[in-house]
């Protein structure tokens, strides 16, 4: 049967974006089969039963695809397991008696709203700047009119797998959004449908990224290491090529 584990959760508490925050530590009786968020549910249920305010954290699908959950767990966005979102991280990866430090994402462009909840709307504005193909409903030709090589479609898919969670920004010492932005530039830029407006897209998205206050990329690679969907650094290289093409002219590879 399943094993119970006793933990101490050292968690960031902050009333709102105007007040200062700090750590509080709470004991939690967990079970190895729980997900990390279910462990936080148990903590919150305890707090509510003690008429205390529960810890605010964001979550929704709890199956690793919506990108709503976040958290920095023991210093790592989405915790210790590679290719895993917080909601799919299970307590069997922690030890009885362990103290787990839980913080919100820390980045200038992602201000803390409450406890572990941050504002990631900057990502939406980057997409609005150009992260789309301009086609109205009803304008499309037949789906098979333009063949796309299996490998190319597969590569595009791998970039499109980004869930917009923001772990890349939280992992980066510069708070850069290059991995997120480049994943979209690559997803669309690789497809013949998206190539048409590729340069305009790249330039506009990069401009918006800078405007939002994200930092520069200095090739550290922490974003790739922490990305729960394993988006690769070569997306950034693709975007840089596209950007130079847009700014200085010349052919895209």
């Amino acid at each position: 049967m399943s094993e119970d584990i006793k933990l101490n959760i050292k968690v960031w508490r902050q009333k709102n974006n105007k007040s200062a925050g700090g750590f509080e530590t709470y004991p939690v009786n967990a079970n190895e089969h729980m997900s990390f968020l279910e462990m936080l549910d148990v903590l919150n249920e305890d707090l509510v039963n003690q008429k205390k305010e529960p810890v605010a954290f964001e979550h929704d699908c709890r199956e690793g695809i919506c990108g709503t959950c976040s958290l920095v767990i023991n210093g790592q966005p989405h915790g210790p397991n590679a290719g895993t979102t917080t909601c799919q991280l299970h307590m069997r990866h922690f030890k009885n008696g362990e103290t787990i430090v839980v913080e919100p994402y820390r980045a200038k462009a992602f201000p803390v709203l409450k406890d572990l909840v941050v504002d990631r709307s900057a990502f939406d504005r980057i997409i609005q700047a150009g992260g789309y193909i301009s086609v109205n409903a009803g304008q499309a030709p037949d789906g098979n009119a333009i063949p796309i090589g299996k490998n190319k479609a597969g590569k595009s898919f791998e970039s499109a797998a980004c869930i917009g969670c923001g772990a890349c920004v939280a992992a980066c010492p510069n708070g850069s959004a290059m991995l997120f932005t480049s994943a979209k530039v690559t997803h669309l830029g690789l497809l013949p449908q998206g190539e048409v407006e590729a340069e305009r897209r790249t330039e506009a998205m990069v401009a918006q990224m800078d405007k939002e206050g994200f930092g520069m990329c200095s090739n550290i690679g922490a974003c790739e290491a922490e990305c729960p969907k394993e988006i690769k650094l070569d997306n950034i290289a693709f975007m840089n090529r596209s950007y130079f093409k847009a700014v200085f002219g010349g052919e895209l590879e």
Binding site: S35, V42, V48, D60, Q128, V135, F157, G164
Partner: protein, 664 residues
């Protein structure tokens, strides 16, 4: 009440085309002056908001998420159906229509379903043009696979993340309209009431979830695309925030709720592991293409497995009962979801379940791994392989097809499904019931429309796999942009709707009062604890098998729980802040009313059809028995706190013959 479905006259295949080209439309100069509120940004909502924006309407779009990219459409795994017949296997619009009507156990409208099948073709084109990276063949053309309940390959997919890719496509289109200013986006806003003025839907009350501020938003029409209500069961495959509130508040303002008891229980989910469990995770239906479902034939073997003394792999082949293959030889493991779920329940109820709780069956890939292993060996010209080497090759092939699902299973359960058969059990997944709409997707409240899972219209009593995405996008991209004109064409001289009329002020005050009431109960039990108890009542009495006695009891239990909730719930914090507990309390309050109505609807429908199984209505061999002479109607309920009223819309079948669904 006269329920007019407004189905256009004429032959089935011509209805939509003819109707589209003759319906009233709004000229571009007038579209700019007409405001539309769209609530929800899943496939239906995002597609509707962006398409209406493209047409030039002034759209205001609302989501309770932090971003419109998060809606639960994103979690759909398997695929989207379309009658493209790219596979050249005899598919057609008519066949997709027929499969959907039959799969829904003849409880959906013919005309709506046929239109859905027609639109399916355009959806794929639209999504490809948006940059959705569907799976492709080496020749660069789109690839298809098959799904439960059908005999052709018409499912388009993007690995196990089709919903994500389609939603991102719709989200990007929506983002483009936001940038152009045709759509004004309200993130972190939850609709808490519908506002009617002179009988028409004219706006909503929304709560800003960051500040708690109540906002009055006015428009000429309101479109609900707020998804299903599976979370009434507490445990379901829905996301944690999925709720019925927007739809339910509309029902309380007079919209009708149709067939609320039609719930889809999906057969392949990861079983419950403990009381703390917050949600259930689906394993895609596509797994049943290659996985075989079984339980031990001997009860003592099952008990030993439950106690952890024996493992599934140790059970000999002759001691395994492949019950789907045994009971349904024609479709085998690929029977529709309702049939597969009930069969699993029957085995577990007999004591043959395979998890500590006894509530699980095996989904086993070992035979497929051998089969694929041999194919791979042949391809590579390897003749002298040992069994272990063949299985290893087979594992690679299975991994290429389902790798991400196997990985997800292992993350959650800690068990390796390549070595041990998966354990699965049915779980609440989708709700076919929903707000009643006519052919225009308009509710009985003029100016209020409902799209996608939120409405009841296309799936009857059971939805086929890969059809939810199809319906969401059909409604959003290709139906509502036309049909909303039938209402708005008569509103071109209506001036901008004001948000300070007495109706708006009254709705805002009622919402404020409800919030204050919940915060001031200051009882002793958490919202979560009430939700969990509600879920247990629903699952016990309104779950996979229902009977009159249980439904009567369940209804009383829910009423009692509701009374207790309003006396003893504890909602921490205040209204004027980010307060997820308050959000939950408002949602659970509505689930408690909906739950009662579901019990009543299930009680009224004394037949078994699709996902609705009444123990009183079974054939001699234990299969579900429909009663077409009594129940071939849509049950549309008018809510009343003491005694809801039933209205019936008869279902007329002019093109298909009603048959007993057989998968044997």
């Amino acid at each position: 009440m006269n329920l007019n479905s407004k189905i256009p006259a004429g032959p089935l295949a011509d209805k939509w085309t003819k109707y589209k080209s003759t319906m009233p439309i709004v000229a571009p100069n007038n579209k700019r002056k007409l405001e539309i509120i769209v609530v929800g940004t899943g496939l239906a909502g995002a597609a509707a908001a962006s398409s209406l924006g493209e047409l030039g309407y002034a759209v205001k779009c609302f989501t309770f998420h932090d971003s419109p990219r998060r809606a639960h459409s994103i979690a759909a795994q398997g695929g989207i159906n379309a009658a493209k017949n790219y596979a050249n296997d005899g598919d057609s619009i008519y066949r997709l229509f027929y499969d959907t009507i039959k799969g829904g156990d003849y409880r959906a409208r013919e005309a709506n379903v046929h239109r859905l099948a027609e639109c399916s073709v355009e959806i794929i084109d639209q999504c490809v043009a948006q940059g959705v990276p569907f799976a492709r063949e080496y020749g660069g053309l789109l690839e298809n696979r098959s799904f439960g309940g059908v005999q052709v390959s018409r499912t388009f997919y993007a690995r196990g993340q089709t919903g994500q890719q389609l939603l991102i496509g719709a989200y990007q289109s929506l983002s483009r309209q936001i940038a152009l200013g045709t759509v004004q986006m309200y993130n972190r806003h939850e609709m808490l009431d519908l506002v009617k003025v002179d009988g028409k839907a004219r706006g909503i009350i929304a709560r800003n979830l960051l500040t708690g501020e109540l906002e009055r938003h006015a428009a000429h029409a309101v479109v609900l695309a707020t998804g299903g209500y599976g979370n009434v069961f507490y445990l379901s495959t829905n996301a944690m925030m999925c709720n019925v509130t927007a739809a339910w508040k509309s029902v309380k303002k007079g919209a009708l709720m149709a067939n609320p008891c039609f719930t889809q229980i999906h057969p392949t989910c990861i079983p419950v592991s403990g009381e703390y469990q917050s949600k259930l995770t689906l394993m895609s239906e596509s797994l049943r293409n290659d996985g075989r479902v079984w339980v031990p034939k001997k009860k003592e073997d099952a008990q030993a497995i439950q106690q952890g003394k024996l493992k599934g792999v140790q059970i000999k082949e002759e001691d395994r009962d492949y019950f789907l293959e045994r009971r349904y030889p024609a479709f085998g493991n690929l029977v529709p979801r309702d049939v597969a779920s009930r069969a699993a329940k029957v085995e577990c109820d007999k004591g043959h379940g395979v998890s500590p709780t006894g509530l699980a069956v095996f989904l086993d890939f070992s035979a497929s791994m051998v089969r694929y292993g041999k194919i791979e060996a042949n391809k590579k010209g390897l003749t002298d392989l040992t069994d272990t080497q063949i299985v290893a090759l087979g594992e690679e092939a299975v991994s290429a097809k389902y790798g991400n699902l196997f990985e997800m299973y292992e993350k959650i359960t800690g068990e390796n499904p390549y070595k041990e058969p998966m354990k699965i059990y049915p779980a609440v997944h989708y709700t076919m019931g929903g707000v009643w709409v006519d052919y225009n997707l308009e509710t009985n409240i003029p100016g209020l429309f409902a799209l996608g899972e939120c409405n009841f219209s296309d799936h009857g009593a059971n939805r086929l796999g890969a059809s939810a995405l199809m319906q969401g996008l059909a409604d959003g991209y290709f139906v509502i942009p036309y049909t909303i004109g039938t209402f708005l064409a008569n509103e071109i001289s209506t001036p901008k709707v004001k948000n300070d009329s007495p109706e708006f002020m009254a709705a805002e005050k009622a919402t404020k009062d409800l919030i204050d009431k919940l915060l001031n109960i200051k009882g002793n039990h958490s919202v979560e604890s009430f939700h969990r108890r509600l879920g247990k009542i629903m699952w016990e009495y309104c779950g996979m098998a229902r009977n009159a006695e249980g439904l009567t009891k369940g209804r009383q239990m829910i009423r009692a729980l509701r009374d207790e909730f309003y006396k003893d719930v504890y909602v921490p914090g205040n209204n004027d802040e980010y307060n997820p507990e308050l959000e939950k309390a408002l949602r659970v309050a509505d689930f408690m009313e909906l739950g009662e109505l579901m019990m009543m609807d299930a009680f009224n429908r004394n037949e078994s059809c699709g996902g609705h199984f009444r123990e009183e209505s079974v054939s001699e061999d234990g299969e579900a028995q429909r009663k077409d002479s009594e129940f071939a109607y849509v049950a549309a309920w008018e809510w009343d706190h003491t005694e809801p009223v039933l209205h019936k819309e008869p279902l007329v079948f002019e093109n298909v013959e009603l048959k007993t669904r057989s998968y044997k």
